[in-house]
């Protein structure tokens, strides 16, 4: 501090700002280099360590900046609290993901290949990582869920039973009930080899100019649902029956 005369406050602010900018870029550079070097230990681990180093360098830069500005204790305390709050807010997701990782590792609410429902997402667990979990949905889409999501939503593990019972609504426009029942039974019979047990015709009713039927299909691989509905639609079409499946 001795190299700056007390009245030269502008110069001190400029040097302090330069130190802060330098530490910001240095932190970024150290992060990218470290991430590359540590990647052999796993991407998640490399990211966590390099983030910590980056924040440490930033902290040193801020400490140097405070020292250059020669602020009093009160001002330093206010700055430290503000930085801590800022850090906590900016690292909120990282902290939450780390907490979730700990939760998943100790509580083990599901395993790979389990069928789970969490929030709006339902599917089969493909892999459980340090930061996120991969889930394959009904439609075969791969959803990457940050682990912190599991802390905020209740997890339903449906893996105790091998089959899921999927209910479908079949609508037959311009059809009469008496002509349809046999066709529905036949089409369900055709897809039976793909199911885990017998498909069930839950209900059939006439509404205005259409017939509505509800069926329940026990399916092991729910990704085949789209394929099955296409096969059912084809089955009805070959019988000259138009159908809409929901």
């Amino acid at each position: 501090m001795a190299m700056f005369p007390p009245e030269d406050i502008i110069l001190r602010i400029l040097v302090a700002a330069a130190v802060l900018v330098l530490s910001y870029f240095l932190g970024g550079y150290a992060k990218s280099r470290l991430e590359r070097v540590l990647s052999k230990f796993g991407a998640g681990f490399a990211r966590k360590v390099s983030d910590l180093v980056r924040y440490f360098i930033l902290f040193i830069g801020i400490a140097a900046m405070v020292s250059i500005l020669s602020l009093d204790i009160m001002a330093i305390s206010v700055i430290i609290v503000a930085i801590l709050i800022l850090l906590l807010v900016s690292m909120r997701d990282i902290v939450l993901n780390l907490a979730a990782e700990l939760y998943l590792a100790t509580r083990k609410p599901f395993k790979e290949n389990d069928w789970i429902k969490v929030g709006e997402i339902e599917g089969s667990v493909k892999s459980i990582g340090g930061m996120d979990t991969e889930i394959i949905t009904y439609d075969g889409d791969l959803v990457i869920v940050p682990n912190s999501y599991f802390l905020r939503h209740p997890i339903i593990n449906k893996s105790r039973s091998l089959a899921r019972y999927v209910e479908l609504k079949l609508s037959f426009p311009r059809m009469k009930l008496d002509k349809l029942e046999q066709a529905v039974v036949e089409v369900l019979d055709e897809i039976k080899p793909e199911l885990f047990g017998d498909p069930e015709l839950l209900s059939m009713s006439e509404k205005d100019d259409r017939v509505e039927a509800h069926v329940s299909l026990p399916i092991v691989n729910v990704r085949k649902l789209r394929w099955l509905t296409a096969r059912m639609a084809k089955g009805f079409l070959t019988r000259g029956i138009e159908v809409e499946i929901e």
Binding site: N113, W115, S124, K126, P193, E194, L195, F196, R223, K224
Partner: protein, 219 residues
């Protein structure tokens, strides 16, 4: 259910017959590597679709059928191939993956790779030997999804039976059946006052504790 069975050896033969019995209407696809075996398998299992594939082509078959396959059973005569195919099935999120082992020592490797259902055809040897030779305790079966187990204990005197009665009294998660040396069967060990073999079925956790304390007493 659509099941892919890989292999055409002895294990696959038993697996194919069991699948037919369990799910007579299901769709079974068998993959074999040689054309001669494919021909034989087609005749032996007319209910199945037998496909010839190169050893290295099985993974791509799994990948391209992943959205419609319900189960993959790796039952070739090589554990390293079985592991490869189980890994491919896992990567493609097939819901049910089963490996049939050739060498029981490889079980740990399959477990480490995340294969949950591993059938060890040799596992029956120690169980049968223990029953035939009358070992003090014998774990007969653990259900694959865990939590339930069946075990047997050799009861040699009234004191042992009394202690077991005490342990089992009031526990509604373990059932017992006593078979005397003369072959008489008693479903309630409260009434039994004979030597023989006690068969227990129920909670794995509880049964393990009973077996441990029984073994300790025997020592």
């Amino acid at each position: 259910m659509r099941v892919l069975l890989i292999g055409g050896g002895h294990s696959a033969y038993f697996a194919a017959n069991s699948i037919k019995e369990i799910d007579p209407d299901g769709k079974l696809i068998i993959i074999e590597f040689t054309s001669e075996k494919v021909e034989v398998l087609s005749k032996t299992f007319p209910f199945a679709e037998v496909v010839q594939q190169e050893i290295d082509g099985v993974e791509s078959y799994i990948r391209s059928n992943a959205s419609i396959l319900d189960a993959v059973i790796a039952a070739t005569e090589s554990d390293s191939l079985n592991l490869r195919y189980c890994k491919a099935a896992r990567e493609n999120a097939i819901p049910l993956i089963i490996a049939i082992l050739n060498n029981p020592m490889n079980k740990e490797i399959f477990l480490k790779e995340g294969v949950r259902y591993i059938i060890n055809p040799y596992g029956i040897i120690p169980v049968e030997l223990s029953e035939i030779l009358g070992s003090a305790t014998n774990i007969i079966y653990k259900i694959p999804s865990g939590s339930v187990m069946m075990a047997s204990l050799k009861v040699e005197n009234e004191d042992e039976l009394r202690k077991l009665r005490r342990k089992l009294r009031g526990s509604d998660d373990v059932s017992a059946l006593l078979v005397s040396t003369s072959g008489e069967i008693k479903s309630s060990i409260e009434e039994a006052d004979m030597r023989g073999r006690l068969y227990l079925m129920g909670s794995e956790e509880k049964l393990k504790k009973i077996l441990d304390s029984f073994r300790r007493r025997k020592k």
